[in-house]
């Protein structure tokens, strides 16, 4: 039930101790990484928040994972992208590639900005985070296809996609496109920055793939009634 110390007093403890288990007792509460919550003074707390604080002082709390930060620069979409790029659990390399990509995009855009005449300066977007989010939006498919079996044959049926699925597809296409279809000697951050800048202006192979999916769904419109949910 409650966290007990008697289990820890053994004649032998293993050298590597797991700090955070993925299956916690439901008694444990989630950690709160945001700084603003702790800055609210005593007087301004609502009754629910006061209750929550009292509860947190008696209950044990789960250990926070490595990916949660209280930093203002934390971006959940970017963290998801980093996790999808990661191979063999090597987050340092994946995070390094993403930071190099952001830097590369920013450098290209800022260079263009400084060389552009006065009138055109306002149109050039220099923020790499804005470019990343907009490019991802431009790559997200609106409608997807599912393989449904009817009468012995499998049909590609157009179905609505959830937000998470759309985001996953956009990121997956971006990563596979950069890994497979580019020149062998270019580094990943260069390939990614080129592809993201192209997607930002709605050109490039990933956006083309999204359009092809939409066209397939449109052409298979007749089978839409095979969907039963």
């Amino acid at each position: 039930m409650a966290a007990s110390l008697t289990g820890l007093l053994k004649p032998w403890t293993p050298r590597v101790l797991l700090v955070r288990w993925s299956r916690y007792n439901p008694y444990y509460l989630e950690p709160e990484p945001r700084k603003e919550v702790y800055h609210i003074p005593e007087t301004e707390l609502t009754p629910e928040q006061k209750e929550e604080r009292e509860l947190k002082s008696v209950r044990p709390i789960k250990a926070a994972t490595n990916s949660v930060t209280s930093s203002v620069f934390n971006d959940p979409v970017l963290s998801k992208f980093v996790n999808m790029m990661m191979k063999d659990g090597d987050k340092i390399i994946a995070k390094g590639i993403i930071t190099q990509t952001l830097e590369n995009m920013k450098r290209k855009q800022v260079e263009k900005y400084h060389k552009a005449p006065e009138g055109k300066k306002a149109e050039i977007e220099c923020n790499p985070y804005a470019i990343f989010h907009q490019a991802l939006e431009n790559c997200k498919p609106v409608i997807g296809l599912a393989s449904i079996q009817k009468g012995g044959k499998f049909y590609q049926v157009p179905i609505p996609l959830t937000d998470n699925r759309r985001r996953f597809l956009a990121m997956k296409w971006m990563i596979t496109e950069c890994r497979d279809n580019k020149h062998r000697r270019t580094l990943m951050y260069e390939k990614l920055s080129q592809e993201l800048l192209a997607a930002f202006s709605k050109e490039g192979n990933v956006v083309k793939r999204k359009h092809e999916l939409h066209k397939m769904a449109e052409s298979n419109r007749a089978y839409a009634h095979y969907r039963w949910w």
Binding site: F73, T99, V110
Partner: protein, 356 residues
């Protein structure tokens, strides 16, 4: 009235003590002549991105410049050594001083990184001049090419005082201009290391001269590479000591203070150094016994991390150049976080702001 005090960045024409913490712009025409080599690679990228080259005026550089102004050039050369933790701005202070020297009309001998001469050498030829020494043709010819770009106007004025024989058929006579020697070194790659030695010797002899005298500034980055160990190997796999390399041997003679009419400005560097622990930054640790004894009467110039005023100035400069793009980085919270993450270290701050 211009308010020069306070943490702000202003583009100044001639930096003085009042302009501490502020940026001065190097004119674009100077970049290719004064700095064909020698600037840190990340700074070169920054110059390309911002379309201009701005250097912050900091205390170590100003101290060096004031020493150079007040030194007596009829006495033996003074040696200045810039030292500090990794990323604190030693190379940039050196480049600031080099730019000052070239605007004052000195002859600048800038060796961008002495560590490049003691590691990763593809071709190591036995020297023709001295039996037990080794030549490095590629490094020597590259350096001569850059030296030629930096000091074009001096090359025709300085005349050689001695006859140099390269092979049975080739020799350079007395009285020929230095430019001819340098051109020969660039074209005949095999004898380029000996040409470098000859150039250094000539400049050493003529620097303090009364007729047509010029002042000579020897700027060496990563000077601790000259006295350590090398990673180069001879054909029988035995290690090469730095003394056995012609380039290093001649450069050591240059750094000795037995000539007058100029100054030697050196920087320590742990980044490219061989067999030195990464936490070492003091002269005693990086130069070793031998190096410290050779450099011994030197003027140490410590380079510290950014002060609060300098940090503010750098932050405002990045904001002005549209480099800090993340919306949170432009708030107070973001600024406090940047101070915390970088500990006011210039290079760490630059790398953080690169992706923010």
């Amino acid at each position: 009235m211009l308010l020069l005090a306070g943490p702000c960045f202003i583009f100044v024409a001639k930096p003085t003590e009042q302009h501490l913490g502020q940026y001065y712009t190097v004119p674009p025409s100077h970049f290719h002549t004064v700095f064909p080599h020698g600037l840190p690679p990340r700074y070169q990228q920054q110059v390309k991105t911002f379309n201009e080259g701005c250097v912050m005026v900091r205390q170590p550089a100003l101290e060096l410049i004031s020493h150079l102004k007040r030194a007596d050039y009829s006495k033996p050369t003074l040696r200045y050594l810039l030292y500090g933790v990794k990323g604190s701005g030693k190379t940039m202070s050196l480049c600031h001083t080099v730019h000052y020297c070239s605007t004052q009309g000195w002859l600048v001998l800038h060796i961008p990184d002495a560590h490049l001469w003691v590691k990763n050498c593809k071709e190591l030829l036995p020297s023709s001049y001295h039996a037990s020494r080794f030549d490095q043709p590629i490094q020597a010819s590259n350096w001569l090419r850059n030296f030629r770009t930096t000091n074009e106007h001096f090359l025709s004025k300085i005349k050689l005082r001695q006859r140099y024989v390269w092979t049975k058929r080739e020799s350079t006579e007395e009285g020929r201009p230095l430019g001819e020697l340098v051109d020969m070194g660039v074209s005949r790659v095999k004898s380029s290391s000996d040409v470098v030695g000859a150039v250094l010797k000539e400049l050493r002899l003529q620097a303090g001269g009364t007729e047509g005298g010029f002042r000579l500034a020897v700027a060496v980055d990563g000077v601790n590479g000259l006295w350590g160990r090398t990673t180069l190997k001879k054909e029988d796999k035995s290690p090469v000591a730095p003394e056995e390399l012609t380039l290093v041997h001649n450069l050591r003679k240059m750094i000795n203070n037995d000539w007058c009419g100029g100054a030697v400005i050196a920087t320590l560097s742990q980044t490219g150094s061989l067999y030195a622990p990464s936490s070492a930054y003091l002269p005693q640790e990086l130069l070793g016994e031998e190096g410290f004894d050779s450099m011994d009467p030197f003027v140490p110039v410590p380079v510290s991390l950014y002060s609060e005023k300098e940090f503010e100035s750098c932050y405002l400069y990045y904001l002005d150049r549209h480099w800090l793009q993340h919306p949170h980085s432009q708030t107070e919270e973001g600024k406090k976080e940047l101070i915390f993450l970088s500990n006011r270290n210039p290079s760490v701050l630059e790398r953080l702001c690169a992706f923010l």
